[in-house]
């Protein structure tokens, strides 16, 4: 239970639940409830159970919520169902947080530990007996997708290169998130190169973890410390510039989740969140304003299956990657047509959730397997790992196709796998 005057208590008891008219639209759209009777659905564990909680949990199936946020996104009455349930789950887990959840929520530690010994770390993660041991001791499923470590971080790459000329279009701030720094360096590099190609000078301030994995695992106190620290770091750069992210979920953390789930109402956070743009959102807005010249983009005759991550939908910006990719001559985008790939950050890693997560993602995997011509696209890194693991189809951030269309990398795009 939380203290009576805490933010959690207020949200649990007040929130937006009185707006719920019990239409059950969220129940019909919940990707977890569709595949397992272990989860009774967002309305039952949320606005319904909320009235009985009084600070304590009454429905333990809440633990099976993946926090994908689709319930909030589809609610026609504006009820913050996912936020309500995230807070309630944190309350439920507060006094007995599993070691596993403590570990997997500290991405920077994983990155810092793995980078210096990347080949060994990667080999260990692919070594079945080691994974079985990890599953038994820690509770991370033996078949769950794991990131690949690299010997060089994005920060290392930035340090080692010649600084480009000042941009003709002014400056931007790049928020790389942990994944782009440690595990998806190429995505970070391509995003920076695309922005520089467009004439922007890209500033990359020193930055730590946004705390999202901690938040989604219910470790709120530490998450608040981390996100506040990151906000201060991002504000070290000029404060009148847009902040660009190619890490969907981390961008979303700063845009709204830290505010709506952790209850961080600092003016600094809201200010940073208001400047945060997803890279595809940013580029499409440029195009809409007549500022993105695509006339010299190279042709790429390709059908690209694309999955819009749940965490992107939660930002209420539509699916800008679809429109952006279709600006590339020759590209046809086929959307996955499903809400979630199942991984939902760290949900699908967990031993007891793995089977559910794979069932949630099945429509995504089936569509990608059916329509791919050797490559798929998805904005979020953890989703890409999940999709690659399940389908063996190399899956890249949409920016890779834009990078290629601008002539900055060779055809065809691959992840090298």
């Amino acid at each position: 239970m939380f203290e009576p005057d805490s933010y959690e208590h207020d949200l649990l008891n007040r929130a937006s639940l009185d707006h719920c008219v019990k239409c059950t639209i969220c129940e019909t759209q919940c990707p977890v409830a569709a595949v397992t009777p272990l989860f009774s659905g967002p309305k039952y564990v949320g606005p319904q159970a909320e009235r009985f909680r009084h600070g304590a949990s009454v429905d333990y199936s809440l633990d099976y919520c993946s926090s994908c946020g689709i319930c909030t996104n589809v609610c026609p009455q504006g009820v913050h169902i996912a936020e309500l349930n995230s807070v309630a789950r944190a309350a439920m887990k507060k006094d007995h947080m599993p070691l596993r959840d403590q570990l997997i929520s500290r991405t920077t530690f994983m990155g810092m530990a793995m980078t210096p010994v990347a080949p060994i770390a990667n080999a260990v993660l692919k070594f079945k007996p080691a994974r079985i041991a990890v599953e038994k001791v820690v509770g991370i499923h033996r078949d769950a997708a794991m990131p690949t470590a690299h010997t060089q971080t994005l920060v290392g790459w930035l340090r080692g290169r010649t600084a480009p000329k000042p941009g003709s279009r002014g400056k931007l701030i790049f928020f790389h998130g942990c994944a782009q720094n440690y595990f998806e360096v190429e995505t970070g590099v391509k995003t920076i190169e695309v922005l520089e190609h467009l004439g922007f000078e890209v500033i990359v301030p020193k930055q730590g973890c946004c705390g999202l994995p901690l938040q989604s695992n219910g470790i709120f106190d530490t998450a608040r410390v981390w996100v506040r620290k990151l906000v201060a770091q991002l504000r070290e750069a000029p404060r009148d510039l847009p902040i660009i992210s190619c890490s969907t979920s981390c961008g979303g953390m700063l845009k709204h989740e830290a505010n709506e789930i952790l209850g961080v109402k600092d003016a600094d956070l809201l200010e940073v969140g208001g400047r945060m743009r997803d890279i595809c959102e940013f580029l499409l807005e440029m195009y809409d304003n007549g500022e993105l010249d695509t006339s010299d983009w190279l042709e790429n005759e390709l059908t690209v299956p694309y999955h819009a991550p749940c965490q992107l939908r939660g930002q209420n910006i539509g699916t800008p990657a679809v429109q952006l990719l279709e600006l590339v001559p020759g590209i046809t985008v086929v959307e996955s047509g499903a809400y979630c790939c199942g991984i939902a950050g760290t949900y699908g890693l967990k031993k007891e959730k793995y089977e559910v997560a794979m069932k949630v993602g099945k429509p995504v995997f089936d569509k990608i397997v059916a329509v791919n011509e050797g490559i798929a696209a998805c904005d979020s890194e953890t989703c890409r790992w999940q999709i690659e693991q399940a389908t063996s189809v190399p899956t890249v951030h949409p920016i890779a196709f834009i990078h290629q269309a601008m002539g900055l990398s060779k055809l065809p795009v691959t992840t090298g796998s």
Binding site: C23, T24, I25, E27, T28, Q29, A34, P37, T72, N73, V74, C75, P76, Q77, G78, G252, L254, K255, H256, L270, G273, G274, M276, Y287, D288, G290, R313, G314, Q315, N316, I317, G318, T319, Q323, E335
Partner: protein, 411 residues
Amino acid sequence: MTNTVVIGAGLSGLVAAIRLARGGRTVTLLTKGLGGLQLSQGTIDVLGYAPERVDAPIDAIASLPATHPYRVLGPAAIAAGIAYAQELLGDRLVGNADRNVLLPTAVGALRPTCLVPPSMTAGVVTGGIRYVLVGFRQLKDFYPKLCAGNLERQTTPAGDPITARGIILDLPAIEDMADSSALAYARALDDPSYRAKLAAALKPLLQDGEVVGLPAILGHRDAGAHRHLEELLEHAVFEVPLPPPGVPGIRLNEALTALAKQAGVRIVAGAKVVGFESAGGKVISVGQATAGRIRQYAADAFVYAPGGFESGALTMDSYGTVTETIFGLPLHGLGPDLVTAGDPSDQALFRVGVGVDASMRVVDPAGHIPYSNLYAAGGILAGATRWTEKSGEGIALASAVAAADSILKGA
């Protein structure tokens, strides 16, 4: 680049967006959540009561008050709206705009409607029909014996008796599930092996010549589920719509959303439109409360199709003041005694809404046009009590098509 913004993802918003996009406009559709269509019965009501039960909906329009949206639209526009729904949805809808049919509801009332999914046509009440209604112990939204009992208390329009009985099966959607939703059954029935299981349990209980009424659960995505079950049972089968969210409404919503995407409509879901900018008598842009900021969407024409009180587009405060919440538009139908102690289903408040001219452009009660590029469609329109008239889908379709056509013609 977007040149048209549609607000709302219900029937009118989706249909207007599709027609505009197919007509060559670039369309962005902004919506707070999933539209209300999947809370519907999956049928197209045109006009069921005016106030007596209506058999020929288009003919009955002349008897409506002059302030009714149908009187503003006129019979040709109504027919065009229905024809467009048939064009878009093809064999998903059966029927004729000139004639209503009567279908049993989940409580055994007879409801007039116009276009119906093929999975419901066998239930149309006719002389000599013998219904058997089938429910499930695990499905708490349908009580077949209540439905059958109420049906037997009525007659067909020609005065013939109706025969009906109820059967309850003990068959969960998923093994060991105590409480299965309609959607859980529909997903189970997408699987032919579950249909075989249902048929095996049900067929021995049926009598020759009975028409089988099942709750509307006959497949979520597999449009062949209904036909397959009829073959297995060797009986005509029909679906009875359940309380929301009804599976037939879900099917319709998914079909139209897919058509909108195919037509190139950009759908931006999950956040309210919270404001707008205007200049020179035109709306310049509307602001949607996306994560972290308000994003302005500029366009040269706007279709406002947000629904009415049920969606929060219209509100009434504790002083009785009714407001349109985004544009602050002047409302039609205001006056004293909006809510009285009389018939709760017939209140002046329900007819309050936004007024339009024949092109669906918003007009104030004095006939002035507040914004020359703002059109309204669907449940926000003044003058109708959609749920008692059974006119919601017809108004939505006719006004959406009329608004889209005005924009396409450059009105």
